[in-house]
């Protein structure tokens, strides 16, 4: 089987590594590891590097977990970076497990587990009286065993089954240029975990006399979901191990490299990344608020107050010894957010709304409008609501933003905006336009922006597309740029943060 070739190679590289003296190998390994961490964007300084080297000397190397935590404590100084660290760690030390850990459970216990599986399979065969050996489990039997393992929460079994499933379903071939996600998808598709969950729940319901209360049901489900999640992680790890064996550590580290949360592209974030982004946005707003407050406090000196200086000079015989200054009046800008929430940029708009509202108490007034081809004001949906997530949900479901066909039409939306709310744009207003300016070849109506720029304090445009895509296809950002005070690429939290920072 082609998969076994990969595993063979893994074995060989293991042996080769084991032959190298542990000390030298370790130092080299660690420097490679740190180079990869830096390449993934983690700021690892020289001192931290040295600390890591010192730390691993105090840790028994055969303890893989302790080794991992020792490295994490010295190298990762931000909880949000943990995931990136973990991925790199798994790649770097997945094959080296045996070198560090003779008792690495996954490797050493494997034969036992195979036996265990064989036994279980035979049991089943016995029960059914059907043919077939442990080696050639039918897919049904595999599914059955998986179900049993999940029902019992048997971790060792889950590990073995994950291996088996990958070997059987992923269809991995050495040198095949597809990513791990593809294999993961193939494996999971064959396992039908949704079906398994339903079965588990059914079984849980049947196993007790009286019907489960909803709370119990919910708890049962949580438990099984946690176990299935565990299984999924095992499968991922197994695929990663095989890929590393096939392609080598450095290549895999490069392909599996995950961006830090602040570098995740809004437009292409996976659901999991979205969740972590949402978490990251709250500290971000707090940070901005603190910075704002400090700016206000520190900038205590306004321009010279001539009148007051003269008044004070009376006590020194008309000599202005003590210059008096005006109190600064920090400008509290009004902000109008006009966001495109059509499918193509919805994720981005949502984040920006989150951010703007979270810092809204810093501004005297924040009003928000959303549009696709029609436009609607949604300010009220945020009022008196503590849960921003819910407000954003309401915006997406309740706002009246469709005029004709529900395809972005910037021109019409801007025109409608100007007719209905144009008068309220004043010299204190900063207008933030969010969108990719992909107008589906409608008229641009850029005169609205021209008027707007004339009347408002600033008009800024945030575009979630990479700069190189601008003005390609139906994007007419260039036309609007003429009438904006600034157009910024805003693809990730880092850029968004930079923008807001400048704004205030």
């Amino acid at each position: 089987m082609p998969n076994d070739v990969a595993l063979d190679r893994a074995d060989r590289s293991d042996r080769r590594l084991a032959e190298i003296g542990a000390g030298v190998a370790l130092t080299e390994l660690l420097s490679g590891f740190i180079v990869e961490l830096r390449a993934a964007g983690l700021p690892v300084s020289l001192t931290e590097n040295l600390d890591a080297m010192a730390a691993v000397q105090h840790i028994p190397l055969e303890d893989r977990e302790a080794f991992k935590y020792a490295l994490a404590a010295t190298l990762v100084k931000n909880a949000a970076h943990w995931r990136v660290f973990e991925t790199v760690f798994e790649v770097y030390f997945s094959l080296r497990g045996r070198e560090f850990a003779l008792t690495d459970d996954q490797m050493a216990q494997l034969p036992d587990l195979d036996e265990l599986m064989g036994e279980l399979a035979e049991q089943r065969d016995g029960e059914r009286g059907a043919g077939g050996t442990g080696e050639q489990l039918t897919p049904e039997e595999l599914a059955e065993m998986l179900y049993k393992a999940l029902a019992q929460g048997n971790e060792a079994m889950l590990k073995a089954l994950a291996r088996q499933a990958v070997r059987r379903y992923a269809g991995m071939e050495p040198g095949r240029p597809v990513g791990g996600t593809y294999y993961l998808y193939r494996t999971l598709r064959n396992l039908d975990l949704d079906g398994v969950l339903d079965r588990l729940m059914q079984q849980a319901r049947d196993s007790v006399a009286q019907p489960l209360t909803s709370l119990e049901e919910r708890l049962e489900r949580d438990e099984y979901e946690a176990r299935i999640d565990q299984l999924r992680k095992e499968i991922e790890a197994e695929i990663r191990r095989r890929l590393v064996a096939d392609r080598g550590v450095e290549a895999m580290a490069r392909t599996l490299r995950k961006p830090l949360p602040e570098d995740v592209d809004f437009m292409h974030a996976s659901r999991e990344e979205m969740a972590s982004l949402r978490k990251a946005i709250y500290p971000l707003t707090r940070k901005l608020a603190v910075r704002l407050a400090r700016k206000r406090r520190h900038g205590r000196k306004g321009p010279l107050d001539f009148r007051s200086t003269m008044r004070h000079s009376l006590s020194t015989g008309g000599v202005p010894v003590e210059p008096q200054f005006r109190y600064p009046r920090p400008s509290k800008p009004e902000i109008f957010v006009v966001a495109d929430i059509s499918g193509s940029v919805a994720a981005f708009a949502r984040f920006t709304l989150h951010l703007v509202y979270a810092i809204s108490h810093q501004f005297s007034k924040v009003r928000s409008f959303v549009f696709i081809d029609g436009i609607d004001e949604v300010t009220r949906m945020f009022e008196g609501i503590e849960d921003i997530g819910e407000a954003v949900h309401r915006v997406n479901t309740e706002a009246d933003v469709i005029w004709v066909d529900g395809h972005s039409d910037y021109g019409h939306a801007f025109e409608a905006f100007w007719q209905r709310w144009g008068k309220e744009v004043g010299p204190k207003t900063t207008v933030l336009l969010l969108g990719d300016a992909r107008n589906n070849y409608h008229a641009s109506q850029s005169w609205v922006l021209k008027e707007m720029q004339h009347r408002a304090r600033h008009v800024y445009w945030l575009n979630p597309e990479p700069r190189s895509y601008w003005d390609t296809g139906d994007s007419i950002i260039g036309e609007y740029t003429t009438f904006c005070d600034g157009v910024f690429e805003c693809r990730n939290l880092r850029q968004l943060e930079g923008f807001v920072d400048n704004l205030v």
């Binding site: 105090h58 303890d63 996600t181 993961l184 909803s214 709370l215 489900r221 949580d222 996976s270 999991e272």
Partner: protein, 320 residues
């Protein structure tokens, strides 16, 4: 840096499992990561920066380590506006004045007097200085370090990296022994790189199901195993909702105590919603959780699953 630590003094802890075991004896259930970092802090002689959501036992860790090592806990509570005279040392002006007055008639020269009034006798030690001057073993806890301004953080740097304090009039005060130092942070702002670099980093998150159950069992006397299990499971379920402030460990402990006092040994939806205000601290969160549970009751069966599914994406579908 590590020289000052290892020096000639013996290590406090034998091994990672050892640390874990001793922490368990003082009723702190550490996981592998926590025990590992405490152990490394001792071995490398570096401070530990503990970060994580409120109520997950960050401060308690420092207290427990102090108890376990039989050391005195010196605590510096940080707040906005903390300065040198509150954190490091201060000259005892009144005493200095008295001395000057007393010696005015003795005919001592100014230099002698100056030397005299800037001696250790007139120094009021504050927590940081006290920690490094102590003769007995101490654990220094710098609590909620994210509350001080960025500028004030710099006060800590010298003591964290070299375990010394420079006093212009006196010279440098070296540590008599390297104390174990813990800093806690709720992550309300990004700490400076300089500070982070000097510390080992430990992120304490909500515990997993097993550990939470054990913590409840250990911390709430008289609780039955089944109640602890239910508490842990329900809390886990609530944490999966998107809340402003998910319930922390201290809140699960409080909740378990409450249930115990109410004489509940089987938690049902009604009890859970009735006591949700112990677990959750925001009205919007409580409403959400109650709604979530009630939805289950009214619709039952598969709808419960749908509600759970809506609350959190099914984990194995995320990337598929």
């Amino acid at each position: 840096m590590s020289d000052t630590a290892s020096g000639d003094q013996a290590y406090r802890f034998e091994s990672v499992p050892g640390v874990r075991e001793s922490l368990r004896k003082v009723d702190y259930l550490a996981d592998e990561g926590i025990a590992g970092v405490v152990y490394l802090a001792d071995r490398l002689g570096k401070p530990v920066l503990i970060e994580g959501p409120a109520g997950t036992g960050k401060t308690q860790l420092a207290k427990s380590v102090a108890e376990m090592a039989g050391a005195r806990l010196i605590r510096l509570q940080c707040y906005e506006g903390l300065d040198e005279s509150k954190a490091l040392y201060e000259w005892n002006y009144k005493k200095q004045l008295l001395r000057i007055q007393a010696e005015r008639n003795d005919g001592t020269t100014w230099e002698e007097l100056e030397d005299d009034i800037f001696s250790e006798e007139f120094l009021l030690t504050r927590p940081l200085l006290e920690a490094i001057r102590a003769d007995e073993p101490v654990v220094l806890l710098i609590d909620e370090v994210d509350r001080v301004e960025v500028e004030t953080e710099a006060l800590l740097l010298e003591i964290l990296s070299d375990y010394q304090v420079s006093i212009p009039e006196l010279g440098t005060v070296q540590a008599t022994q390297v104390p174990l130092v813990f800093l806690t942070s709720n992550n309300t702002r990004e700490l400076s790189e300089a500070l982070k670099r000097r510390c080992l980093f430990l992120h304490v998150d909500y515990p997993d199901l097993e550990r939470e159950r054990e913590i409840v069992l250990a911390k709430v006397p008289g609780v039955t195993e089944s109640l602890a299990d239910q508490v842990a499971r329900i809390v886990r379920s609530i944490r999966q909702l998107e809340l402003k402030k998910p319930p922390s460990v201290s809140e699960s402990i409080d909740w378990a105590r409450t249930l115990l006092l109410l004489g509940v040994d089987q938690v049902d939806a009604a009890t859970a919603t009735g006591t949700a205000n112990i677990l959750l601290k925001y009205q919007s969160d409580i409403t959400k959780a109650v709604k979530e549970f009630e939805q289950d009751t009214s619709l039952g069966g598969d709808a419960a699953g749908a509600a759970a599914g809506a609350g959190a994406a099914k984990p194995w579908q995320r990337n598929a």
